[in-house]
Symmetry: C2
Subunit: 314 residues, 2 copies
């Protein structure tokens, strides 16, 4: 316990990237987002300080973000055409590269918790739809009714989308609502978790990058843990999270070089978004090519960083 408490650890969280500009945010909104990121960061940090695992830390941080209606994940998930939520989430444990994920689930209070159950209590990695929910019922995870998810803001957004006959797709939306966390614990283990609520007024059973290992979520001990946010289709096609780790493993790039290079391939392909990433030494990189990304980090030296815009803390 003393060794673990003295060991270096690192943690980063994100609450989505997109067209987030200083000019269009009120001071009150900005303070609310910064406070929410801080609460999520502290939930994970407490676990790491007490000698807990990176996996527990990223799950705890993401649960906080899922429960906060500010973010498009869990409780704050946007509503689809039927006024329901349809959520995706994944966790990956750098120890042995184990992973669990769920896609297109409704009424599960914390999809990240269900994703972890898939990893630890099923022989599978990815479960979708009604089957994933049936597994959640067997596992006894918490479910929530429409009153939990149908927040005033999301009902307003859906009504507007329906009035405008618009499906707010990730790729045309100015904000990519996804939350995530990455961590290095005192024992040297890396872990990543990502969760999202998808698109307002959506259809077609679209699955984005969050629950896809190597796209929006990836972790491998000795290399890095990565969680992404942005135009999911580009993250899938370019295997953004795996690409960052591969550049470190095979091309000898450091975390920052690898993460910046992956975001450049995203930019070159015409995609938008960002990632948070931590390596085995606790270095943290949080590059993005959008005007802003809600993000926070706790560095191994104890330095805390909470930022929203591109020029924040740079």
């Amino acid at each position: 316990m003393t060794a673990a408490a003295e060991a270096r650890f690192a943690l980063a969280v994100h609450g989505g990237a997109g067209t987030i500009r200083r000019a269009s945010m009120t001071a009150k909104d900005e303070a609310a987002y910064r406070a929410a990121l801080d609460v999520a960061l502290e939930a994970g940090a407490k676990i790491l300080r007490d000698g807990g695992s990176a996996l527990d830390a990223v799950e705890a941080a993401v649960v906080v973000l899922e429960d906060d209606p500010l973010f498009n994940a869990g409780r704050g998930s946007v509503l689809n055409a039927e006024g329901r939520v349809e959520m995706d989430a994944a966790v990956m444990d750098g120890r042995g590269r184990k992973a669990g994920a769920v896609a297109a689930v409704g009424s599960v209070r914390n999809p990240v918790i269900l994703a972890r159950r898939v990893m630890e209590h099923s022989p599978h990695v990815l479960l979708v739809g009604a089957g994933a929910e049936a597994f959640g019922k067997e596992q006894g995870v918490a479910f929530a009714g429409p009153e939990w998810f149908r927040t005033e803001r999301r009902i307003r957004e859906l009504d507007r989308a329906k009035r405008e006959k618009k499906i707010r797709l990730d790729h045309s939306s100015p904000k990519f609502g996804t939350v995530g966390a990455v961590a290095l614990d005192g024992a040297g283990n890396l872990a990543a978790a990502t969760s999202t609520g998808g698109m307002t007024n959506k259809r077609w059973g679209r699955v984005g990058d969050s629950p896809i290992v190597g796209a929006g979520t990836y972790a491998a001990n000795g290399v890095a843990a990565i969680s992404g946010t942005g135009e999911g289709e580009y993250f899938i096609r370019l295997t953004i999270a795996r690409d960052i780790a591969a550049r470190m493993e095979y091309a000898g790039q450091n975390l920052n070089e690898a993460a910046e290079a992956a975001i450049r391939t995203l930019t070159d392909a015409g995609g938008a978004g960002g990632v948070i990433a931590v390596d085995a030494e606790g270095n943290i990189a949080m590059p993005f090519n959008t005007p802003g990304m809600y993000r926070a980090a706790l560095h191994p030296d104890g330095r805390k960083e909470i930022a929203i815009y591109g020029d924040d803390g740079r």
Copy 2:
């Protein structure tokens, strides 16, 4: 046309890996599998010989394998607990790394055709379940009734699985029924396609590696095209297909070294399966760690190879 006809092209197909031993196959079975692989190979080769694209070639080859009841994909898909099929498929075009995929679809005659429609006619990469089928209806792809899928052999297998109260999961089954194709065309483009029918008596909405970019399917011009077959969960966690390409891009390994190394990581992790892969020069690698893999290749020098067991043609 003359230039394309004279250009070098390469093509490989697979029909699944697993516990396929000479001792347990009749000469008649063996001949049927070899003939079926040859028909699929020739369907793709004809397109390449005529100067067609790698993408058209892999789609045509996989359609043949989907329509053949011998293989667990399309028509030959195994039946789930409700006596229905639930299929996954993906295509990836090495030009610009575009991709399309579907998961958990029933009653679509050729999932690989629907996957290509997702790539070319939707803004998305991955559609699942009823939403994917609704998109297919809009696109006018062919649907098929239960009489198409409920072949005598699959009904018998399901009845046996139900009698034994057994869910035949990929991870416990001796055979991983998946089909796939990879190609290099005369213009230097690479493409990959994979399709699978999943598990007999399955539940839980499990999605395997076939429709996951970087796991069971990957293609990038100038590097390689890969299609996998095996225990899907390992392919997802280890990002097997992307790993082969990453080793070539970033570690300077050749196709054979990279594919063999990726199969070694699969073996080390305790997983079973194999891949077919082709690089930008038309080299073909088809490593696997199971007793057999149904496979066929047409090399740039015109040499044709059709093999089943580990010691076939070695």
